[in-house]
Amino acid sequence: MDVVTPRSLDEALRRKAEHPEAVPIQGGTDLLVSLNFDRLRPETILNLSEVAELRGFGRENGSLRIGAALTYTEAMREPLAQLLPALAEASRTVGSPQIRNRGTIGGNLGTASPAGDALPPLFVEGAEVEAASVRGARRLRLDEFLLGPKQNALADDELILGVFIQPSGQPQTFMKVGPRNAMVIAVCSLALVVDRERGELRASFGSASPATRLVTAPLDEMDAFPDAVADAASPIDDVRGTAAYRRHALRILTRRALDRCRA
């Protein structure tokens, strides 16, 4: 096994082009579990933790650009917590402080788990993923990027650079069902925005479909929205819960989230 540690974004993209099979690592909170338990023995690991261009966030052409290496802990802090409140709430439910200090938004996108906690809040705010290779950069909507359980649309030579968002500034929240308030993989989760400016309700759920998806409705269909969200899910029975429970919980969460956003 080889660990390649590029010191700049250019070098990282070159290395990924040379080693398309290389597995990228940033916070390592997913990959190290696979390594520790002998589930994965990649020939090459591409260590991105020295690539400064992937860190932080800023304004770019009127959009907010969040670097792939932004940690959950950083997403919980001001000013991001005020710009993207549902993402901050979701980040606070991820693992433990130790996990939140290492785990990143880019890693959550790369892993593309249906349970990824950052994904529903990014979805309801219309985030686009910025992917790049030596061939150039492109932007993908989340429904184009998330293809299925642990499957994303990255080409072999591409890396996730970050996400672009135009924060709506509208009331929004995130909720998650699990046996504890910490160290929990979502049984199901929900992000919701009541967007009065666009006259639209937007919801997105985790752990209730093969890939996170967006559900929208006109603002005046608030009463029917809990059923609409539950109907849009395609949950399965697994070790964490049953499909029936997940659908039921999504209906309740949607109602509570609407109440919270209207309060």
């Binding site: 690592i25 909170t29 190290l32 579990v33 520790n36 690991i45 433990s96 130790q98 910490a182």
Partner: protein
């Protein structure tokens, strides 16, 4: 491969297997068994260390990623043989039962008190939510954190 780490203020060179965790390097290569190896998946917090001043699970850091960086383990908290105030408080409050989770909890508590000198019960519970005590001695651990904060 070779890495160079600063551990508890001392610069150390060591050979590692490129796929190993920082926890393996600390325990098996550098002779620092204070950070405990239990779940190896970030669930229990008993391997908590500070990496460049940030609280992390050493089992979830690729050792190669720590190359050129600074690590503080539980062994680095005591000052010249004098226990760290958090260690003292844990001993005094009876917050140590079997002791396995203690190093991780001590490091996590030291990290918390550095950021928040007088945490509430809720803040302590959230800050220590990633550290499991199999003996379930949480009440005494809360007492110890308050005791340490008071000093």
């Amino acid at each position: 491969m070779k890495v160079e780490l600063t551990v508890n203020g001392e610069r150390l060179d060591t050979d590692i297997w490129s796929g190993e965790s920082l926890l393996t390097t600390l325990r098996d290569r550098l002779g620092l068994p204070g950070s405990k190896n239990a779940c190896e998946q970030g669930e229990c917090g008993s391997c908590s260390v500070l990496l460049d001043g940030t609280l992390v699970c050493a089992c979830l850091v690729l050792a190669a990623q720590a190359d050129g960086h600074e690590v503080v383990t539980v062994e680095g908290l005591a000052d010249d043989g004098n226990l760290h105030p958090v260690q003292e408080a844990f001993a005094e409050a009876g917050a140590v039962q079997c002791g396995f989770c203690t190093p991780g909890l001590v490091v996590a508590t030291a990290d918390l008190l550095q950021r928040n000198a007088d945490p509430s019960d809720d803040e302590i519970r959230e800050a220590l939510s990633g550290n499991l005590c199999r003996c379930t001695g949480y009440q005494k651990i809360l007492d110890a954190v308050h005791l340490a904060a008071g000093r």
